[in-house]
Amino acid sequence: MMILWFLIFLIGATIYFYNKLVSLKNQALEAFSDVDVQLKRRYNLIPNLVETVKAYASHEKEVFEKVTEARSRAMSAQGFKEREEAENFLSQSLKSIFALAENYPQLRASENFQKLQDELTDTEDKIQAARRFYNSCVRDLNIAIESFPTNIFAKIFNFQKMELFSISPQERESPKLNF
């Protein structure tokens, strides 16, 4: 009789912890795709930006090439770390475009450019926000995978810890322009 109760308890616990891990994992995956949505929005804005800047500063080829390359590198990057690095590189190269605009008053005055700059800054903020939510979901998952007794079930069903984005405190402030 005791064994029967123990078995029922064990099955119940397994179902409970398994489901908990599944929902945590799916929350984290969903949060990751939310980050993707914002990143795609940025990819779509970049060609427009490059075209607009070209119209006013056609001889600054280097900068355009750098941005275009950074964009395609970010889009094709595989793996979490490599991708994060590529995205951060893209952010940096975008900053250099806006720094370049400082030398072209006509470009800065152009309505189209202002709109694009505005949109891109907003997208930057949204990428950060989405990453923060992803991090909070992953933190919940990782805590569950590490802590007792969920860690036993995580091991049995092979739940892996997920990686966190590194959000530096400087990123909270408005981007500084430096060469």
Binding site: A31, D34, Q38, D118, D125, K126, A129, A130, F133, S136
Partner: protein
């Protein structure tokens, strides 16, 4: 954060408790009056009324508070700065962007209402936008978004409708006794009703207030404050916002005690027993003290 999910469940339980207690109370009241006046139609009316107002308090929990303060919806074009603040904080919290409304009040204050994440609103007073800077407004919005995420808003919005009901009833009683005094021929019939209702209101108001005090715990403000800091990663914004809001002495144009517990800070600065009855806010100094302890 498991505590947030526990909080959601507790809030849902309390909301059901609040609505059903109120429902039973009105039906009992109807039954009592039906017995006194020997008219069973009063009971039917009470049941209908209780059903109607339970439905109303749940289904229109976002629209009623917005209507009561006369707020107007803010679109992205009107104020992209505020709109983006809300959008980005909603992304950080992982909820849908709530609708944003601006109330024509000069007092800096704000509240959130609605029944769930998909039907939520954030109402900002015009004074808040005028007097606070970007980081402070961000702190306030993060506080309201945390209320939405923790499902604190449903129970508070339901409470608004219930308290409004008490206010309407007491108004009704006042008018009834006023007219009852002037009309001589109907005095005998109306006086007992007025007297009974008067006593009911005297008993009812503190009782409802007690119920709401129980349902809306003071902890939720602390929890929303600390969750807000988790979203913005910057506690100073909310701290100085709370300081500015609490030091401001501009009164609300639209003084509705039913809304008191919704706001981020108690909107009624004067001592008024009826308003204080429904006040569920912990002292602001305590909240600031707790916020200063937050580290991350």
């Amino acid at each position: 954060m498991p505590s947030v999910y526990e909080n959601i469940r507790t809030n849902q339980r309390k909301t059901i408790f609040l609505i059903s207690t109120f429902f039973c109370f009105i039906v009992l009241l109807g039954w009592f009056l039906a017995q006194v006046f020997g008219n069973s139609q009063i009971l039917y009316f009470a049941i209908f009324f209780a059903l109607f107002q339970s439905f109303l308090s749940y289904w229109y929990s976002d629209k009623i508070p917005v209507f009561l303060v006369g707020a107007k919806e803010l679109s992205k074009k009107d104020n992209p700065r505020i709109y983006r603040l809300v959008e980005n904080l909603a992304i950080s919290a992982g909820i849908q962007t709530p609708k944003i409304f601006i109330a024509p009040e000069r007092q800096p204050n704000a509240f959130a209402a609605g029944r769930d994440e998909k039907h939520s609103v954030i109402v900002l007073n015009q004074g808040l936008i005028d007097l606070l800077d970007e980081k402070e407004i961000e702190g306030v919005i993060a506080h309201e978004i945390s209320h939405i995420k923790n499902r604190d808003v449903l129970i508070a919005s339901v409470a608004v409708v219930l308290v409004s009901f008490v206010a309407i009833l007491s108004n009704f009683v006042l008018r009834l006794s006023f007219f009852g005094g002037t009309r001589r021929d109907s005095r005998e019939r109306e006086n007992p009703l007025g007297l009974i209702l008067f006593f009911i209101v005297i008993v009812l108001a503190p009782l409802i207030a007690q119920l709401i005090q129980f349902a809306i715990s003071r902890k939720r403000e602390f929890l929303a404050d600390s969750s807000a800091v988790l979203l913005t990663r910057y506690s100073q914004g909310l701290i100085s916002a709370l300081e500015k809001i609490s030091q401001n002495r501009i009164p609300l144009k639209n003084q509705n005690p039913a809304l008191a517990s919704l706001y981020i800070c108690n909107p009624f600065k004067e001592k008024n027993w009826f308003f204080n009855l429904f006040s569920t806010h912990p002292p602001i100094e305590k909240r600031i003290e707790e916020l200063k302890k937050v580290s991350f």
